[in-house]
Symmetry: C2
Subunit: 387 residues, 2 copies
């Protein structure tokens, strides 16, 4: 499991002193030369480490990743960028890499500067501690108030894909940062990683929602070092794509299940939309609706809220197409609406999971989204972080 | 106050039996011939009464408005449309108007049919009860779980503008419906009402948020009957526009203050945006962020959340422009960020209101938004409606 599931990767997680007692610094490194890529938050308030990592990816293949938790190094101005660069330089020196071969990621409080001395001292311990068994330690060091580590791995014929993630669980920090680091010993040529990563992320990390918030630090990294020495064929490429999707989906589900205050997990399935982007817009709008999410918490199939959300899904400056007379809605497996006419008013909803299926009857667009409920605990966690 | 503040309007609020004991049917009528207009929800799941009222406005000047609470007549298919038309016909018969001169509005549970017999019987009582003192009764009959009536009036030289509204407060119904009916004895020619109503609504009802939800039934109606007999001049037009804006702003503030579970009211002011639509997109994103709203509830100036929300404001299929290095943020009057650099980390926030001012330093775009906090009570109200 985790980032050391695939051959040729070492990792560690240590305590450097940003957080009081918990491990707060992870290092992941590929031993053979790797190729890699990353996808970052689209938030315009990108944190300093996101900006610096993007610059590094533009000029070099990533060989190592450094992640700190506790402080996001976001909204930290010019000092924040210097600190992120210095962190990459420090790691590069210890790992005998070029600074641009190191990606830096941060998660935690916004608006506070990194304690750079502690980070640099911690990096020395972190690099010393690197081992092929260090994946779990690394996964622990990137958590904030997640209640458990998020690890996954999948095997293909002769190769492996591993990964770790942290989700939207934070009390002290200001933001729900989603971070994931994925590693594989499958051989990829330079520039290929993004072709595999993008569809896997779209179907997983980009299809979940805890509270509709988009962080300044979200990042997903993929490193591929070819240490499996498998022969590539179209079939093996397909097996790799599948394994990568499975690891991403597995980590995504763990993130939603550990969402702040979550008691119910719901899968929103939208089909029959005019286009696929519209299906996604509608699924996302339902998955992020406060009214839908509080109803899930109350185990109350307020399906009118689903329709109201579907009818107001922002799309291309307007709203996604929807014809009330063509809608079919199944809530928890019960058909409540068919061809726009009411079939059943109050389906039973209970248990820790629920499926909401909306067919728009317009075309072939299809998308699904995982979401959690909006509970008292979500409010408590996010309102009372000082107590 | 209310819809009978202006000359020549009568109104009533009666109990017709949709709801158990509370008044649930309001009638508003202009005695002199009126001109008028309405603005409706942009939700694609428009309720039957919205569809029917739009058709009526296309062919006739509205003379009367019928509003029922308790059932939204939304997602009710072909029967819902028939019921809305029959309601308008019934009122028209009693009021000696053409059916297309009657607007019908509904608020309440989605997916249930109107009890048409009760509505038609209630209309007879409602029309008998019409009086120039009936404005408050009408305002009571349109409430769902609002905790108080929302009334406003403003006088110009020789004329008056009055209004009533209901806000986003509902336990039993499935949706937060915002309804407002505005009346004036200022003389307007046919087709003019919308020119005055649109800017007033944009600056008020379209600039508030309780939970970012957009209902299937939202509507704002304006009737103008000229009963004041004032002489129109450019100056009187300006006075009328101002009075209308004041009534809309007053009702909007009452809606936010009575928002579900609201304990804090916050004004979000965005300036220096590249364009005004972008300022509005950013203000709206901040005002609807669950993280910003839970922080308000906790009296916790988590200003990083404001920046993260601002950086992810959807605009034209992408995100509104923002340059982190040019931001200035004042939270509760304290400058926390200037030119992208941190000035103060933890401003004090207390009391029932708060101002959040973000200057983007890019252009002249300016917008403001009123919002409330996200509290335990919001979750309780929306999760536990059956208890």
């Amino acid at each position: 499991m985790s980032v050391t599931a695939a051959k040729g990767f070492v990792a560690s997680g240590v305590h450097c002193g940003i957080r009081r007692e918990k491990p707060d610094l992870a290092v992941i490194r590929s031993l053979p030369r790797a190729t890699g890529t990353a996808m970052f938050t689209v938030n315009r308030m990108q944190a300093a480490p996101v900006k610096v990592s993007k610059e590094h990816l533009d000029v070099a293949e990533p060989q190592a990743v450094v992640v700190n938790s506790g402080i996001a190094n976001a909204a930290t101005g010019s000092r924040g960028e210097r600190d992120a660069r210095t962190t990459a330089c420090g790691a590069a020196g210890l790992l005998m890499l070029h600074p641009t071969e190191v990606l830096v990621l941060s998660t935690g409080v916004i608006g506070q500067p990194l304690p750079l001395d502690r980070v640099l001292t911690g990096l020395a311990s972190g690099v010393r501690a690197l081992s092929a068994e260090g994946g779990v330690d690394a996964a622990e060091a990137i958590l904030t108030t997640d209640t458990c580590t998020k690890l996954a791995a999948a095997n293909g014929p002769g190769f492996a894909v591993g990964g770790m993630a942290k989700g939207s669980g934070m009390i002290h920090p200001n933001l729900a940062t989603m971070l994931a680091v994925l590693t594989t010993d499958y051989p990829l040529a330079s520039g290929e990683a993004i072709e595999f990563l993008r569809p896997a992320v779209d179907a997983s990390f980009n299809s979940i929602s805890i509270d509709g918030e988009c962080s300044t630090n979200d990042a997903v990294v993929l490193l591929a070092n070819g240490a499996s020495n498998v022969e590539r064929t179209p079939a093996s490429d397909e097996a790799f794509a599948l394994a990568l999707r499975r690891v991403c989906a597995d980590l995504s589900e763990q993130i939603v299940a550990d969402g702040e205050g979550a008691t119910v997990m719901a899968e929103i399935v939208v089909q029959g939309a005019a286009t696929e982007p519209e299906a996604k817009a509608i699924a996302r709008r339902i998955a992020t609706s406060s009214l839908v999410k509080t109803a899930l918490f109350g185990h109350d199939a307020n399906w009118g809220r689903v329709l109201a959300a579907a009818g107001s899904a922002p799309f291309n400056g307007g709203y996604a197409q929807l014809d009330p007379a063509r809608l079919t809605l199944r809530y928890g497996g019960i058909t409540v609406l068919s061809g726009g006419e009411v079939i059943a008013v109050e389906p039973e909803v209970s248990g820790p999971s629920c499926t909401i299926e909306l067919d728009l009857g317009l075309g072939d667009g299809r998308a699904s989204y995982l979401t959690s409920d909006l509970s008292y605990d979500y409010v408590r966690i996010n309102a009372d972080y000082r107590t």
